[in-house]
Symmetry: D2
């Protein structure tokens, strides 16, 4: 699908919390201009659950149009209702997107056996390639390594997994049993170096919303076996990564993008703005990194 | 709202996975005939995320009609999209329901400060009393004790919390800081005795789908300070409680209700039927308890 | 062994960190005068791992002598070396102690099967009754409910378990499968009401070092089925319980006892004194509770 | 201290559970002959807590003598009693050991501030270099990244940390804030690739008791920036790593070494032999890897 950095882009809102399509266009151009390898639209960072159906269509269309096939556009279409996922997938197909990011069912959850059935049902109903998304801290459930492999074997268009389990032993095990054809992407900015060292293809990133060039450099260094350079960049951005998750993502990153002048500092419920303390620390760190 | 047992009822499906309204009617009557204190419709046990909007309306109307004010009908209306919650709430109001069970945002999550804003926004837009639902293992987030109290103080119709955090120290702390007007319900069948001993009003139960009489007796024993009787019943049903959660709820309880002849053993995706092993153990335990 | 409150007493040190036997005598008398039901000597609260062998002997002898059979004296003799446990047990026997509190192996840990062998080996070599101690947050391992029952069945003098797993579902399950002859004691002050409501015999307490009378009243209220009174006391002392564990126990309780004038505020390495913030909060709360 | 693989060697016992010094000598020679970079004596894998003082002296002397300065000999001297640590350290110095591996206090635990005091007290009383050992799953406590750095800054002979927290985000953070002079060693075989990719110097290994050559190759590949080769070896040995921790370490590895004919399959209490199932799986995997 891609190697390097895919930015899980924020969805800009105006002060009345309407989707700000102009800012969206500008932000996508900004990402393209700075060398992004892929764009992930309407992920958690894009506040997907707070986006209504009609907005979803317009957002995806807008991004696909601006990107104009320069890089793959991957749409987050997972929900916890299989019919809604199918509907989201159709919309992504119509818009001309290049791939789908589909999280496991959350809240209602499923069993490992149920996961295979779930992804089979979905993958048989779309022509687009799918990246599974494993994020137990949000979903309450895990994709076990054998299950990831089984889904890949049963669903020819499930071609990757975004791993955000933070369980490094599990991730190591996944690499040891998976075929080459199943790609692994780090779903956590701070874990990109360990996961790509294990053989991961790239990072689906929050931090690259505001520090894209360095994360392109970081991920490509690892792809080029240049560990020394990768370590240096990785160490340099660790504090920013940490601050961007000091409150529930995308609360801090929305503020960070607003500091760049690329969106308003506006989130939708159930999210609320970051505390002044978080904002202060974030601004200081971005200044230290010469991002402002 | 109620004291004793509120059953979080399953939603019966026919073999083609359509909602089976006749079975639903029969099942609600069965619950009323066996002394249930309240009915919770379209909770997780009712597979709410897999129910479409038009079905939701018909299900709630059906239950409210059959119950006919004999016991309170509480509708699970929580989602992770605030507008959908408002829509679900309107529908519950129109149908004549008596209360709302609203889970915290899941998957997108929120901060503690965000939770207060979220429940304020929702509670100001409904006339019905609300029970918050805290279930971190499904939602990825927790309602801290001080937050629960703050929500209650800021939202006059948030009158209770369904506690399913399994964090007993937190629950004890909640009792020590909350006003009497904030009711606590155990959200875990196996924790009803400890939580009601601390002063909880009742249990929102999965097991009472199939073992209602004993759970009425159990909860009312605690309300009557008869710990000896409560312990005996509690110990007796512990294995059944455990088996009903051997796979993701409501997978096992759907099978258990089907054994009573009150629904088909049919769940919707992302869930799939229980393993044969789980079904075997469950059937044996129900036989041992003379439930079959 | 006992019902009600057993205080896990601190070991007083003088300013040079020598054991202060005079303060120890005074403190034991203070506990007896205030109605303690049992004394646990050289538990974690007594900083057992930091006590040398010759001190151990003198401490146990001192306590047994002062107590003079008024209440049971239970000696913490568990380590992670079985020979040292045997030696500690002999010493407790010689001193005339009434029982042993033996924690599972920690750090080196064991399997469930290993636990049975371990307690068999130990229990066959002492005449004293044994309470097992389950505290996974310190030991890195758990006593599963079936294992606790199996140990009890295989070792006739293992008569109880101090449960500090904080896993309330596990504790409920233990009550449902254990024989009456296996006693359960809460190992956490804040969990005494839930655990005794389930049928526990008492509490092995840290807080009762400084708030004994209220904890005697609290535990005896539950034994007398007076839940209302128990809840009131429980709620009242929750904040103190919490503050006493704000830093690693027994750091805060040592300070709290020193405020009563009953010991110096001195701990041995690896422990160090509480922060000023913790001490300030603790003092304020003790004043609020009229303990000072 | 060393780069590459340090084997945390088992302590061989005869059938009567006496230390088998002849097997120990043979085993150390076997490790030297197969290219080990360092030997760690009397770690957890060496069942240190079950070794008596007089045995400790003889074991360390035996290993130091056989090794004869060919590689560094590091002695595990941590306990949860500071005086015993000092005594163990003296013994290691007298024997001519090259370094100390000192775990944080376990069971009694400490605070972060206490950790600094603890390591200061110890490091000021020895001339040998010290590697701190962080293993929360055994000790119940963590060394926070800032604390590790603070200890290093306060104690000039604390030169490294064996990281076995399994918390990859924490480990990444540690690399981002530590000076070059503080070395990091993976304390988990399955995490060697991610941790050394981050810049770790080596691995303190259990698996290398039985698969040394491959682990030398694996670690040196990473040191030489040859990620491709490292990944291949890492994937190949993942299942063996996992099986060696199927029961509490060193239960399975003792069996594995016995299959090589280098020791009896004998452990001391609190450990007991592996189950037949574990032994069967382990033997099969070792055969698959041509280790037998």
């Amino acid at each position: 699908m891609f190697t390097g950095v895919g930015t899980a882009i924020i969805t800009p809102f105006d002060k009345e919390t309407n989707v700000d399509y102009n800012s969206l266009k500008t932000f996508v151009k900004y990402q393209l201009d700075n060398g992004v390898d892929s764009l992930i639209v309407l992920g958690t960072t894009g506040e997907a659950p707070a986006i209504e159906e009609e907005e979803r269509e317009k957002i995806v269309n807008t991004v696909v149009e601006i990107v104009n096939k320069k890089v793959p556009v991957i749409v987050g279409t997972g929900t916890n209702n299989v019919n809604h996922v199918l509907k989201n997938n159709k919309l992504a197909e119509s818009a001309g997107a290049d791939g789908l990011l589909i999280v496991t069912p959350y809240y209602n959850k499923s069993t490992q056996k149920g996961l295979v059935e779930y992804f089979k049902y979905i993958s048989e109903r779309t022509t687009l390639p799918i990246i599974m998304y494993n994020v137990p801290s949000r979903t309450g459930m895990n994709i076990n390594p054998e299950t990831a492999v089984s889904i890949h074997e049963n669903c020819k268009n499930v071609i990757g997994v975004k791993e955000a389990s933070s369980n490094i032993s599990q991730i190591v095990e996944l690499f040891s049993i998976k075929p080459d054809s199943l790609k692994v992407f780090s779903g956590n900015d701070d874990q990109v170096l360990p996961i790509m060292s294990l053989g991961g293809d790239g990072l689906i990133s929050v931090t690259s919303n505001v520090a894209l060039k360095s994360f392109v450099e970081l991920t490509h260094s690892i792809l080029n076996n240049d560990l020394e350079k990768a370590r240096k960049l990785n160490n340099q951005f660790m504090k920013l990564n940490k601050l961007l998750f000091k409150e529930v993502n995308p609360i801090p990153v929305k503020y960070a993008v607003s500091l760049l002048g690329l969106c308003e500092n506006v989130v939708r419920l159930p999210l609320v703005k970051a505390s002044q303390e978080t904002e202060k620390l974030l601004k200081e760190e971005m200044e230290r990194l010469n991002l402002l």
